[in-house]
Symmetry: C2
Subunit: 522 residues, 2 copies
């Protein structure tokens, strides 16, 4: 990952501004701009009104030595704040992962790239609706958009306050904020109508917002500061994924790599420093938390890993934080399916095999088969935790969709899967899944283990890079211009690939040489 | 003067934005930017947040036909407002001459460059102090700067209101404001500390402010709008004079021209499309209104022209608006001095000649000679209006200073006075003075009459050009970069020239061949 900070790449610079003299009696603003230009080696320097307003008095009280926060956009350096160089209080930046469900903030000392504090909170827009669609419909009501904006801005300010209190700082100490979110969440933060995002031909209000001032949306930070909003590529390809690309560093590598972000949609980017190809497709909810009845997001008590051991098919379950089991999250379902398959408890179509499942298997009143994972007396809920055939069927479709998307995008550029040097998996899902299991069910290609790299919260990571490296915005702009969006037309070729992927691990087992089923001859 | 509007140079443009489709599903903001780029033939287009915020709904309600206000800065087009193209209400701009004493506003329909209304008011900062120095000292007191800013912003908003009422428009209809003022007035409008402007080495806070948003300083106009502040060259060379250069058009001419703006300081610019040289010097108050006792600014009742006719040296006076005489303004004093000289009533040193002045001349109780212009029974004040020898002495110094400044700046570039093709005189003073008289006293060089051109309120004129021609900001930036400021060191050469100019018209009468004194052989 690309989080190394070159000493010359920071967003905070100390400059000694030449003292005015009869020989150099240009104005304070222009003297600072000239000094910064020398420090920054080129480009033009823009000082906006709120900076100019404080400059003259500060220059003199600081003996002409200033500390400046800067962002680079194109060939322009934008000054996002100034303070006396001798002031020991850090200049900080705020990185924001603006998720539909969860929002994460990180306060960073921009001078030395040290993380000062982090906070996470449920997106307060959940009160209005759990998903994007509900919120967009709500935004269409009278006052709805304003309420949604107020909710998220209020949540941000409240949590900024917590971060500042924890760090002994004030809102005056925040000079840059960088926000990575999907297209709709970005629109709602900016108070832009999301109406047309979900209606053909799916048009955002803006792809690449200019830098905002804090008062534009009411964020509590230094009023000299600037807010960078990650650009999106379109309605279904948001700034969060661009942040992921930046954080993975795939846009700077010579060899092609792939980045997968799994949610209700699977978002996939393939490419290297020369080209980038992106697509998104419905992978179904099963991969995230969508198992009926006992499915849940990754949270304490969620079954996150499953092992089934010979000879008696004993289940070993691991829950998040070791809590008594409450349900099962996406990575747990994948692990479970992989182990059910290699232990012969489900067949290559993903159907329960009655003989091997034994007493764990039962049928509900409609005759549908279910497998007990946790008996009632061992679960946190007091009820047995069971998984049904429909859940497995849903998982089969999801994993097939995911593999088909990966296969389609890779084939579209004429690459074979094994030419991918790196396979980045973003998000909590990426941190939790066991690549062996994901390969075992044929969801991910059978690459060497060290190709796979979970990169955690890459939206937050990408946003943090903007704050700690002044050249990252240029990379973001280059990514935006270089990326090609592949429309996943569900044509016959796609459907053929999809059908072939709806088996465990695949109709063509030669593609998954590492997957071994109990009793399969080695 | 350069006020012709090329059809392609306006600040208001109608664009048909391509409708979104599955083939062109880029965001609304980017589709408008692309359409504008085609209309504007190049450069990049920047849409700030307040514009983006209104765009999506407006695009659709306006059937994708928008009217846009634009300003060009460098290679960037800044969009200062949008509205449906079919909306019949004009997009207007506001030109402001921000004078120390008087402020003038002009509301302009930007689409057809028609002046809608004009208002003038005394700068409300007069309540604090009449001149720049007093106001700067006041600004240093606690809350002083804020009060000065509030006074001028309040005055502007009140008068904007009058203009809008008179035109049947609302503040939402103003999209661009352009302000030309001297360096200190600009600082006070922007709330920037003027403290260092008057202290060696005379440093403004800023020379070239970025475009402001209306809320930056609290101007009542459309919040999508932008405020352009004319840049200054330094503490003593303000944006008002740059506006004058633009309005005169001297920066676009092949042949050298000169521009003179006379106030307490004489500000002079010499140059052409290739180079510009500027200087300013104390010309003394006599040229504006500084005659002791009866001196006044140009206003109703001011003597603005004087003729003295042979054979009996009868005085014919013309007052502004034909009112009974109250006093004498700058142009009147110059006229008077010229006619006193050619009629032999003062000598070449500017001293009264008792024999020719006759009964009009008297001495006050200190023995100082005075000349009666208007007997008590003919004046509006009921007292005789007289001019004293000290007034004439002061005028002699002022006119000598002015001529010396003109001679020095012209000589500095190796030109002779008669190589100047155009001689622009700005301000009310420029509109009122009779060049024959100004040449007659040796204040202005003896050029052909058609060289002289009074250009009136050139600050306002220059500001109006910014609003009606989108390429004027580029010219302003070019002027700023091209101009050389000549420090008028009062050295021996200057003093020699000054001494030679302290005669009527000059020690070297060959330089003023057109000046004929009564009885001088032709």
């Amino acid at each position: 990952m690309n989080d190394s900070i070159s000493p010359s790449g920071g967003c905070v610079r100390d400059v000694a501004v030449p003292r005015p003299s009869l020989e150099n009696n240009t104005a304070d603003a222009e003297r600072l701009a000239e000094a910064l230009k020398r420090e920054l080696a080129g480009g033009c320097v823009q000082l906006d009104y709120p900076v100019v307003r404080r400059l003259s008095a500060m220059l003199r009280s600081a003996d002409h030595r200033l500390r400046c926060a800067v962002l680079k956009q194109g060939d322009r350096w934008r000054v996002s704040g100034i303070k006396p160089a001798a002031d020991p209080t850090p200049m900080t930046g705020l990185a924001v992962d603006l998720g539909t469900t969860r929002v994460v903030l990180r306060l960073i000392d921009m001078q030395n790239s040290v993380n000062l504090a982090e906070a996470a909170f449920d997106n307060p827009q959940l009160r209005v609706g759990p998903d994007i669609l509900t919120r967009i419909h709500y935004a269409e009501q009278d006052g709805g958009l304003k309420r949604l904006q107020d909710l998220i801005v209020g949540g941000l300010n409240e949590n900024i306050d917590h971060l500042l209190n924890a760090s002994g700082l004030s809102s005056e100490d925040i000079f840059i904020m960088a926000v990575a979110g999907n297209t709709t969440m970005t629109h709602l933060l900016l108070g832009l109508e999301p109406h047309w995002i979900i209606r053909e031909p799916y048009i955002p209000a803006v792809n690449r917002p200019e830098l905002l001032k804090p008062e534009d949306i009411g964020i509590q930070m230094n009023n000299m500061g600037q807010i960078f909003i990650f650009p999106n590529i379109g309605s279904y390809f948001g700034g969060d994924l661009i942040a992921g690309i930046v954080f993975s560093g795939m846009d700077t590598r010579e060899q092609p790599a792939i980045l997968v972000d799994v949610g209700t949609n699977a978002e996939v980017v393939l490419g290297n420093r020369h080209w980038l190809m992106a697509c998104a497709g419905a992978a179904g909810p099963a991969l995230e938390s969508g198992v009926a009845g006992i499915g849940m997001m990754a949270a304490p008590g969620a079954i996150e890993a499953v092992a089934i051991d010979p000879p008696d098919r004993r289940f070993t379950l691991r829950t998040i934080e070791g809590q008594p089991p409450v349900g099962i999250c996406g990575s747990g379902v994948i692990d479970l399916a992989a182990h059910l398959f290699i232990s012969g408890m489900i067949d290559i179509r993903g159907k329960f095999v009655a003989e091997t499942c034994g007493s764990r298997l039962y049928r509900n009143k409609d005759g549908i088969p279910y497998l007990v994972l946790v008996p009632a007396d061992q679960s946190a809920t007091g009820k047995a935790l069971s998984i049904g055939q429909p859940d497995l069927d849903s998982l089969m479709r999801s994993k097939a969709a995911m593999f088909t998307i990966l296969e389609t995008i890779t084939a579209s550029v004429g690459l074979a899967m094994d030419e991918l040097e790196k396979f980045f998996v973003a998000g909590t899902f990426g941190s939790l899944i066991d690549p062996v299991s994901a390969i075992g069910i044929g969801m991910l290609p059978d690459l060497p283990m060290d190709s796979y790299q979970g990169i955690g919260n890459s939206s937050l990571g990408g946003a943090a890079l903007v704050i700690t490296n002044c050249h990252v915005i240029e990379r973001i702009e280059a990514i935006r211009q270089r990326i090609t969006y592949l429309e996943l037309n569900v044509n016959q070729a796609f459907m053929n690939r999809f059908s072939a992927a709806k088996f465990l691990p695949h109709t063509d087992p030669n593609r998954f040489p590492s997957v071994k089923v109990w009793g399969t001859p080695v």
